[in-house]
């Protein structure tokens, strides 16, 4: 299979700093907001696997260079592959990325991710599965895939539905952005540390010489703050969100919102409806299904399902919304994607089912996850 193209060589896209017991890994593609290229996910996977077997490494710190932790996967490269007729290269990218997500989710050493900036899509996948996620006042989290004709992947079908109530449905369908305080409140982040204290935190972690999560947690606690949720935070609306986003289908969710919109002039209602209407109908439906199934499955099973879905997406037989979304949002930037089918009611349950079935292609196979051993308790509970 062809390697995925990349605009630069990729050798310095992931920097590694060695400290006595700590491996500090820096995502270094700041111009692209640290979007994860194929080389980066490959390198990250290599690194985490190597550190796992290296008893001198007790802790991994993962951070981003510049104003983003990571804005996601390198979708532009995947789209290039697809348009060159090489969807299998795209599938390969996701395969490596999901295996990396799985290894991080089932890791036996603490990973501390410093989320000082944008953390979206693939960036969330490289951090949220780890043991510690440090948000700051600069954090911006989102899973914006439904607007791109994709769906929240990278194990999001495992971690989003485990947020309180139906917040996961809300985030995944609307792509709503959260700040650091909201990330902490809903559990996406484990700590909130002001940006100004990050370098001290990193220094303290480098001196910790421990893999004990309680000790690491206590160290981060020393630098942590309890941030206040902003007055207009969506997290204050959790009860309302639960009421709408617990509905059975996407149509019912929108219907309930629209009924309410008639009576009130609420800006949350109208912006929520607007996000949902802008997204790919197919994406919304497969996303809701994926989130709801994922709520009931282990992390490995979630990634296996997502891999089937994403392969259908890049193969483009069931729908070409992903290409269209990338065109409209990332390339032409006309923000006017023409989704096919264009309406929710045209996306049947059978069409949704197909995304979860094996691909009808000779040399395609299900995602094979590496065997894991020596798992800590909290990881066993994720299986």
């Amino acid at each position: 299979m062809e390697p995925i193209n990349s605009s630069d060589g990729g050798a310095d896209q992931v920097l590694v700093e060695e400290h006595s017991h700590v491996k500090k890994v820096v995502l270094n593609r700041p111009k692209q907001l640290n979007a994860l290229s194929f080389q980066m996910v490959n390198r990250l996977l290599e690194l985490v696997l190597a550190c796992e077997g290296d008893c001198s490494v007790k802790l991994i710190i993962l951070k981003g260079e510049g104003r983003a932790f990571s804005a996601g996967g390198d979708v532009a490269a995947v789209v290039r592959d697809i348009s060159e007729g090489n969807w299998k290269a795209g599938a390969k990218y996701f395969r490596i990325e999901y295996i990396m997500n799985y290894v991080m989710a089932t890791y036996n050493k603490p990973q501390v991710s410093i989320l000082n900036g944008i953390v979206m899509g693939g960036g969330a996948g490289a951090s949220i599965h780890g043991r510690f996620r440090v948000a700051t006042e600069k954090s911006v989290f989102a899973m914006p895939e439904t607007a791109l004709g994709l769906f929240p992947d990278v194990g999001a079908s495992y971690f989003l539905p485990r947020l309180p109530g139906f917040f996961g449905e809300y985030l995944s369908l609307t792509g709503t952005r959260l700040d650091g305080a909201e990330m902490l409140a809903c559990g996406l982040a484990t700590h909130f540390v002001p940006e100004a204290r990050l370098s001290l935190l990193e220094e303290a972690l480098c001196n910790a010489n421990s893999s004990d999560p309680d000790i690491i947690s206590a160290i981060i606690d020393e630098f942590s703050q309890q941030p206040r949720l902003k007055e207009k935070s969506v997290y204050h609306l959790l009860d309302i969100i639960n009421n709408y986003f617990s509905r059975r289908t996407v149509e019912e969710i929108i219907l309930a919102l629209e009924r309410e919109a008639v009576n009130t002039n609420d800006s949350w209602i109208s912006s929520t409806i607007k996000s949902l209407k802008a997204a790919s109908p197919t994406s919304l439906k497969i996303t809701l299904r994926s989130i709801r199934e994922g709520r009931l499955q282990g992390v490995g099973q979630c990634l296996i399902s997502e891999y089937r879905m994403v392969c259908h997406v890049v193969q483009g037989k069931l729908s070409k919304d992903f290409m269209e979304g990338c065109r409209a949002i990332l390339l032409d930037k006309d923000k006017n994607p023409k989704w096919i089918p264009s309406k929710l009611e045209l996306v049947s349950d059978e069409m949704v089912d197909q995304y979860f079935s094996k691909l009808d292609d000779e040399d395609w196979e299900d995602l094979k996850l590496p065997t894991r051993s020596n798992l800590p308790l909290h990881v066993i509970a994720k299986l």
Partner: protein, 678 residues
């Protein structure tokens, strides 16, 4: 890890741990020399697509099921509790008082109502709406049988009675309000003195033409309505089954609507209600007793689809035959038997998923000196206890799906088939469930005794299934009776058997080879032949015995009662054959591949375990003693062949971890000292 320690040091360390008293400041227990939990999920990878298998087993509305599972796990009302690190389980708090449990049931219903779970449960029409309702009810039942029973009473019995016995104005008046719980319904059929024999009930309703009202009365203590789910606390209305008496003429059992509480929950005048008290299970359901003291209801409250009374007191019925009229009244009970049969299988699935997962992580005894202890499921005896029950549960899962399809696509012509099949399956599947739960409880050892581990508790919660909506023994007798009627009709009029799967009776009698090889035993042809042979032979034996009794001057009814032994064998034969047929149909619909292969193995196990277990095969000579020995040997072989697939087979049940129990997962951590402190 234990394996890296030398055995001697390991023993010494354990002994030291025993002997040295631990002070209060002792360091937390280290996992090292002790047992470690190894998740079976890592060592037993599935060799088939469990997702596809789940779709086969659940059959329909998978996304709706997952939605409801999620509604339950995401709400505090369903008592989520963390046991061990990161594992949350839901389930009612059975340690609450009966009254508290009943209130929780009602609050959970209100939550599900708000989320739109019951949309279309009464007002929806057609197979699609019915299947959705059944799927959601199954999920509710996996959380708590009591919750599904409480819903079943309101929607299927009360709501069903209005749908089936009522006419347009009843539908308009009650159905929408029922779906939205504006009224809470119950179903007053059973009395203290009459259960299965509904025609003998003693409640009497008379018509007063001077006021245009019916007057309902409980004439004696044995006529008090008994076991009425919803009556003790919550129901505002009831369907009352009663003898209808007009001017001294009894027209048999009819159904009426009566209000028993006002909107504030106060009991209405001339109604007396008492509690049935604490039960061995289902304490979240408020079963009560009702007495009617000349309760007056408007004439309109007669559910008049079968028969009506004119304002001046004329009795009018389109169905002249009282037997047929009564049969029409029994129709809604079919839906109950369908849901009971299906839910019994989901209960077995929970039991087996827990017991098998436990047996894949729990070890006992070493077989070699200093060797590691052996996993429970690696003992052939443990396999023999659980895996045949697993195969039967698969078979009955397909049977339950068939029954549901039959029910939701019912026509007037299919009523008889539904009655017979639902009776047979309700009895067979609920008996199977109780037996499975008991075996699973024992297979979990002491852990099976804990309520939090579900299996033992499910026994109490599901025990009633063999009694309500028709006592299992009575139902099985009705099956045999119906088969006998078919037989007599076919022989008398010399016409071919048609329906109830009896067509095989028209062919020549199958011949079983005198020596059964392994490959014969595993073939669908042999298995079909021997199930059919048993059924046809028992049917003719039964017919012969009944007619022999009749020839000796016994009444037809008494001749039937005297032939109970053959009746029992025959009912079972019918049921087993019908279940087997649904299995081979499910299997035939698959294209070849790993899924079909594994299902074939499970089907072989189902067939052969049925041969091994039912003594009628030996008693009547369908199997020679040598062949019975060959079957037994094959079953043992099948156990070891199914063993590698055990985990994947229970994973395919699609039951979320939160609905199983701590022993199905990391039971060491769930019982650790640190989890006590939380």
């Amino acid at each position: 890890m234990a394996s890296s320690l030398d055995r001697l040091a390991f023993r010494t360390k354990i002994l030291t741990n025993h002997l040295l008293p631990t002070s209060q400041t002792a360091p937390p227990l280290l996992p090292s020399p002790c047992l470690n939990y190894t998740p079976p999920d890592l060592s037993d990878p599935s060799q088939f697509d469990t997702r596809h298998m789940r779709a086969l087993l659940d059959g329909h509305n998978l996304a709706d099921r997952d939605w409801l599972f999620g509604l339950i796990t995401q709400s505090k009302l369903f008592c989520p509790r963390e046991r061990g690190v990161g594992r949350v389980f839901v389930g009612p708090d059975y340690n609450q008082s009966m009254e508290q449990q009943r209130e929780m049931t009602m609050r959970r219903i209100e939550y599900l109502l708000e989320r739109g779970v019951f949309e279309g449960w009464v007002t929806g029409k057609g197979p699609e709406a019915e299947l959705r309702k059944l799927a959601l009810l199954e999920v509710v039942g996996m959380f708590d049988h009591g919750l599904s029973i409480k819903l079943g009473v309101h929607f299927f019995l009360w709501g069903g009675a209005i749908q089936f016995f009522g006419t347009k104005h009843h539908h308009e008046k009650w159905l929408r309000d029922t779906e939205n719980y504006v009224v809470k319904g119950c179903f007053a059929m059973t009395e203290l003195g009459h259960g299965s024999n509904v025609r003998g009930i003693e409640t009497v309703t008379t018509y007063d033409s001077s006021t245009g009202e019916f007057v309902i009365n409980t004439p004696c203590e044995s006529a008090q309505k008994y076991w009425i789910g919803g009556a003790a606390n919550h129901a505002t209305h009831t369907v009352v089954f009663s003898q209808l008496n007009i001017d001294g003429n009894n027209h048999g059992v009819h159904a009426f609507i009566a209000q028993i509480r006002d909107a504030n929950g106060n009991i209405c005048p001339n109604i007396r209600i008492a509690d049935c008290g604490h039960k061995i299970g289902l304490n979240g359901v408020d079963n009560g007793r009702i007495w009617f003291d000349n309760v007056r209801i408007p004439r309109d409250n007669l559910l008049n689809s079968v028969a009506d009374v004119s304002p001046d007191g004329q009795y009018l019925s389109a169905i002249k035959n009282p037997d047929q009229r009564f049969a029409a009244f029994m129709a809604p009970l079919t839906s109950g038997r369908v849901t009971i049969a299906v839910s019994a299988i989901y209960s077995s699935k929970i039991g087996l998923a827990i017991a098998i997962r436990y047996s894949l992580s729990r070890r006992a005894f070493s077989v070699t000196p200093n060797g590691p202890e052996v996993l429970l499921l690696d003992y052939p005896s443990h396999q023999r206890r659980l895996l045949p029950l697993l195969a039967k549960t698969y078979a009955m899962s397909f049977a339950a799906n068939y029954l549901k399809t039959l029910f939701v696509t019912r026509t007037p012509e299919s009523n008889k088939t539904i009655h017979v099949v639902s009776s047979a399956f309700k009895a067979t599947l609920t008996w199977h469930n109780m037996r499975t739960l008991q075996e699973c409880r024992e297979a979990c050892g002491g852990q099976g005794l804990k309520t939090e581990n579900r299996v033992g508790n499910l026994k109490g919660e599901f025990d009633v299934q063999s009694t309500f909506e028709g006592d299992n023994n009575v139902l099985m007798q009705q099956v045999s009776k119906a088969l006998l009627a078919e037989y007599i009709a076919a022989k008398k009029r010399n016409r071919a058997f048609k329906g109830l799967g009896l067509e095989h009776m028209n062919k020549s009698c199958p011949v079983i080879p005198s020596q059964l090889t392994s490959s014969t035993l595993r073939s669908i042809e042999f298995q079909t032949d021997i199930f059919c042979l048993r059924e046809r032979d028992l049917l003719s034996r039964f017919a012969a015995e009944v007619s022999a009794h009749e020839a000796q001057g016994q009444s037809k009814e008494y001749a039937f009662i005297l032939s109970y032994q053959l009746a029992e064998d025959l009912g079972k034969a019918f049921s087993d054959r019908a279940i087997f047929q649904t299995f081979i149909e499910a299997e035939a619909a698959l294209s070849s591949g790993p899924l079909k292969d594994i299902l074939g193995l499970v089907r072989i196990m189902y067939a052969l375990i049925s041969l091994e277990e039912d003594s009628s095969f030996l008693r009547y000579g369908y199997l020679s003693p040598d062949n019975a020995a060959a079957v037994r040997k094959e079953v043992a072989k099948l156990c070891s062949e199914l063993r590698p697939h055990a985990l994947a087979l229970v994973s395919s049940f699609g039951i979320p971890a939160a609905f199983l129990s701590p022993i199905a997962y990391n039971w060491i951590e769930a019982n650790s000292w640190s989890s006590v402190q939380h």
